[in-house]
Symmetry: C2
Subunit: 219 residues, 2 copies
DNA sequence: TCGTAAATTTCGTCA
DNA sequence: TGACGAAGTTTACGA
């Protein structure tokens, strides 16, 4: 990884045109050839960048980074304030816990979260337009399709609506009810879901996790 | 801006739990207090980060970054390979061209892009579920709602469908036709739109821009 | 390669 | 401050 602090001007010509006037910034050149330009604020997003795979050609005072789609990042360098190179090696990678897959796993183990007598038919129930997160039966044996999100927004309701439309065409399954389950559901999503007869269930991830294991209480 | 190359372990405890095993990485501490941890690949996304506003407390071998919501980034430092500080000052900022707002502006100026005799009623036409990008009338005086995207995908068609459903309940306005306009429309979005009687219009941004001004020809 | 869905999305705007 | 939608979204995962 190469770290360059330099007074530079940056121009991106690609999906849009973007221009950064001459000013001191950090330029990162990584082992995969990618380049990013950072200001002295914001942790997450670079001011400008070129994602790998791409190719850097370096002339005195002018760097060009080009990718296969013909997008270009042009860095004009006026003055170099710092320049160092560091070998880091491949990163062992990030381990995550608490994402949607895990939430689905927990709800599959505890279908009664949706109501007394609910049972799981299967996870990732296949349909022509993709798998439904959970297919359940309620206490009376009626089919219930469940869409799970970490944050419930309108997109998720639309997704479940498409599944329900399709599933209800199957006479062996119909009628299929819908449940929209998420850790947090946005007001507009709740309104749309309710309007379409879809029930909204807000899930407490930590509480649900506590049912199956006592991991959390160990801390 | 402080640049630290260090052998470190990183743990994030917040919206989820994430863990990075001990390995050499770049740690960026910016003037706004934000911290990000980078591996030697990927230009855009850090491995781990804490967005501003947040607060860094530094002990020998252990850094803690905490924000107001109680999220925490814990960095255990085993060995420092490089450590430097650089004053950059405030960045003049990025100038962009070619985003959706600009596309909407151009199409508002040239409603005849959608057909001879088309006129603009108004931009950001208000409805109960949000504003429609453009409301127009065709040559016969019939209402046409236009949804504009840079890239046309399924969710854009769904969005327009919701607007049309609502607008067509208004007897003073109905029938309202729909146009889905974008620089590029994905095949699946085109299929869904067509199935719903929504016309798709692919817009050439540069050509459209050329109509109003000759800026581009100056280059 | 294309398409779809997730993301600690982040980032702006507007009420 | 919260909600909503755009983003050069990026990134990961299937078909």
């Amino acid at each position: 990884m190469r770290l360059l602090i330099a007074v530079c001007q940056v121009d991106y010509i690609g999906r849009l045109t973007a221009h950064l006037p001459m000013a001191p910034r950090l330029i990162l050149v990584k082992a995969d050839g990618s380049v990013s330009v950072h200001a002295d604020d914001r942790a997450y997003k670079p001011l400008n960048w070129m994602s790998p795979p791409c190719h850097l050609t370096e002339e005195p005072g002018l760097w060009r980074v080009i990718n296969k789609s013909g997008e270009e990042l042009r860095i004009t360098i006026d003055e170099v304030l710092h320049d160092s190179e560091h070998a880091l090696g491949k990163d062992p990678g990030l381990q995550k816990d608490g994402v949607e897959a895990h939430l689905q796993e927990l709800l599959a183990e505890h279908p009664d979260t949706f109501g007394a007598g609910f049972t799981l038919v299967r996870r990732e129930y296949p349909t022509a337009i993709g798998p439904v997160d959970l297919m359940c039966r309620d206490a009376s044996g009626a089919s219930v399709a469940v869409e799970i999100k970490r944050r419930g927004e309108i997109d998720g309701v639309e997704q479940l609506t498409r599944y329900l439309e399709l599933l209800n065409r199957d006479p062996l399954l119909a009628p299929v009810a819908g449940i929209f389950a998420a850790q947090e559901i946005k007001p507009q999503a709740k309104v749309l879901a309710t309007d379409r007869g879809i029930r909204c269930v807000t899930v407490d991830y930590h509480k649900l996790r506590g049912i199956g294991s006592d991991e959390l209480t160990l801390f």
